[in-house]
Symmetry: C2
Subunit: 385 residues, 2 copies
């Protein structure tokens, strides 16, 4: 019931109240109608919440499924109900009822904050300075809002220490640990356990699609980039998916409904999941892209679907390779890129030594999950929103 | 392609090979038929995987969607293909093809390892001794298998130190961090931020349903339980859901398809998600229960669904309160309970001081996620399976 904490003026009045068998109806002074079911009302009686934790203590099974309002009245601020059982009375702030009404007149139009992008983002890539970000909560708040919108941003002048990347990430929340640790170093290694730890080109991909929930926001901090090549590449998966959805709805449908096995394994781990390559929520909003050719295991859908699935998958790949969507940035020491790993794909060009270049390249990375990123943004919104 | 690593004898031979426009068909010596589509075959050509990381390097967009087998032959162990483009040849071990065939003759019958339980589990609750568990990988392996089956087990004689619970959890994997930290202490606290930190009864629930992915396995280690009451309670959510699915399929359907808002918030966090209360995979297998009356936010589904949803939800609650499903165990210092937090609900009876009891109760807890638990089990299976 926290929305009551807001100090906004609320001017709508209740005009009429009608009690029916399983719900009551309020007609408001702005002409809207709202139905409230008795089970919903009883379950949300303000007396049923813990005063300190604000968590619900009320046990719905202590009332019958047929509980009803024996009596109902209202004044300018409050709806009062006397219940048919338990000798219980409830009082609901009208503002709270209005804000939580779920009838057709109150249908919420969800406006997405996501702004998909193509290469034009290079003209307006959001940047912040490390010192500003670390010292000023308002800078942090605005930065988080921008990162939420575009899914990508750069921080400049991050100290080239081991702690640079975690200092920035911890400004938001704690780190998401994975089988690669809480912090990982991306540089050529002998006997690499994954392709990132070589000097080869790394095609665009999402990290760790083999996890039940892939890591949310990724932080990559450049400590050394003294090589020919080695540019970082990015593409907005959501932009690409929207084009696929529009131009080939059948392919989009297959990729959002048919699950495939995903897997990473080495000597110490064998982490698997089974998911669709594109995930949408029940309203069709994009939730995540799980694209990583390295980590999809052998496809095993029904024979009758296999060929059309592969054609759909290959069409998505074609779009991902399309230069209209890919940006390329050579990081220099002190640069840090944050991106939504479940939306924005990343990769790199191959790198090597050359005239004036030692061939060394070293990025240090970590993750913060979406839940914790969003939480931080909401809490800052209480103050700055 | 790791299944080849297994040393099992493979006796089936290929008998005939027929090349068609988009796939080829193998008839095996055991009478089965398998179709393999050309895109699937090309994408799984053994030459396309990194020799060290075993990850796929091949880029499917380097071949056309209409690639086909120009020529195909086989011997007793291998299928050889010459492709219509790229002057490429592939060689596939027949055993690998047989094991990864996806035609109707090869339909896998998935056998679940899950064994739902009611109160009868008290007669056979799986227990291990701390020292055995810490020293013997085979004990660990058998324990993990049992925990996977029943979703619950006790470890006895865990040293009553701060590290007891993390020592056991780290035997499996690293810890899942949440806004409550990596390790949490369950005892009465002043100004509690959630109901667990009081001495009140705690009804059966799943922890942190407000997270996009709630923590997987929970570890609760009893350090002190010098109180009247304070028994731990558990119930197998999957057992309860199966009864609901059988007795009220409409309620089951609503609870698996209509999402509700879930939320935890305090001074520092505001973590929200939106999920169904019961999650099933595309084959109808149970994935998780998200039941916590404390943490469901105000329901906001369509007016036309609200009443029937509430009735379905209340029916689930009735089953959860049914004594046929609930077990009650008073933990003593040194006991540690592990349970699958996304399947097995936990709670406790209220506790207080009394004759001979100080009223003190202290559990220490942490989590390991399902992905990492399963990974550990798979890796041990390589040796002991």
């Amino acid at each position: 019931m926290s929305s009551l904490a807001q100090e906004e003026q609320f001017h709508v009045l209740a005009e009429t109240l009608k009690l029916s068998e399983r719900s009551l109806e309020i007609r408001w002074s702005d002409g809207k109608n709202a139905n409230f079911h008795y089970l919903w009302l009883r379950d949300n009686c303000p007396s049923g919440f813990h005063p300190s934790t604000q968590e619900r203590l009320f046990n719905l099974t202590t009332v019958s499924p047929d509980i009803y309002a024996f009596e109902g009245t209202f004044d300018t601020t409050t709806l009062y109900i006397t219940w048919s059982e338990g000798a219980h009375k409830s009082a609901y702030p009208l503002q709270w009822l209005y804000e939580n009404a779920y009838s057709p007149d109150f249908k919420k139009t969800l406006t997405s904050v996501i702004e998909p992008w193509g290469t034009e983002i290079l003209n307006s890539l959001y940047e912040v300075d490390y010192s500003d970000l670390m010292q000023d909560d308002l800078v942090l708040f605005n930065w988080l809002k921008e990162v939420k919108k575009s899914g990508i941003s750069y921080v400049r002048n991050v100290p080239c220490t081991d702690e640079g990347v975690t200092d920035v990430a911890n400004r938001i929340s704690f780190l998401r640990q994975t089988n690669f640790g809480t912090v990982f170093d991306v540089q050529s290694k002998p006997n690499p356990i994954n392709n990132a730890y070589t000097s080869e080109a790394l095609p665009l991909h999402i990290d760790l699609i083999n996890q039940e929930t892939p890591p949310g926001y990724q932080f990559l901090h450049c400590l050394v980039n003294d090589s020919q090549g080695g540019e970082s590449t990015y593409a907005d998966g959501f932009k690409i998916i929207e084009e696929l959805r529009e131009t080939d709805p059948d392919a989009f449908h297959l990729l959002t409904t048919i699950t495939v096995p995903m897997r990473f394994h080495d000597f110490e781990t064998d982490i698997r999941t089974r998911k669709t390559i594109i995930n949408v929520d029940e309203n069709g909003n994009l939730v995540e892209l799980r694209y990583s050719p390295h980590l999809v295991d052998t496809f095993d859908m029904d024979e009758s679907i296999m060929d059309s699935f592969y054609l759909a998958y290959r069409k998505l790949m074609d779009l991902i390779n399309d230069s209209r969507f890919v940006i390329s940035i050579k990081m220099k020491p002190g640069d840090l890129c944050i991106f939504d790993n479940r939306r924005v794909m990343h990769g790199r060009n191959a790198y090597e030594a050359g005239p004036g270049y030692s061939g060394a390249r070293h990025l240090r990375g970590c993750y913060v999950d979406r839940s914790d990123f969003d939480s931080r943004l909401r809490v800052l919104e209480r103050k700055y929103g």
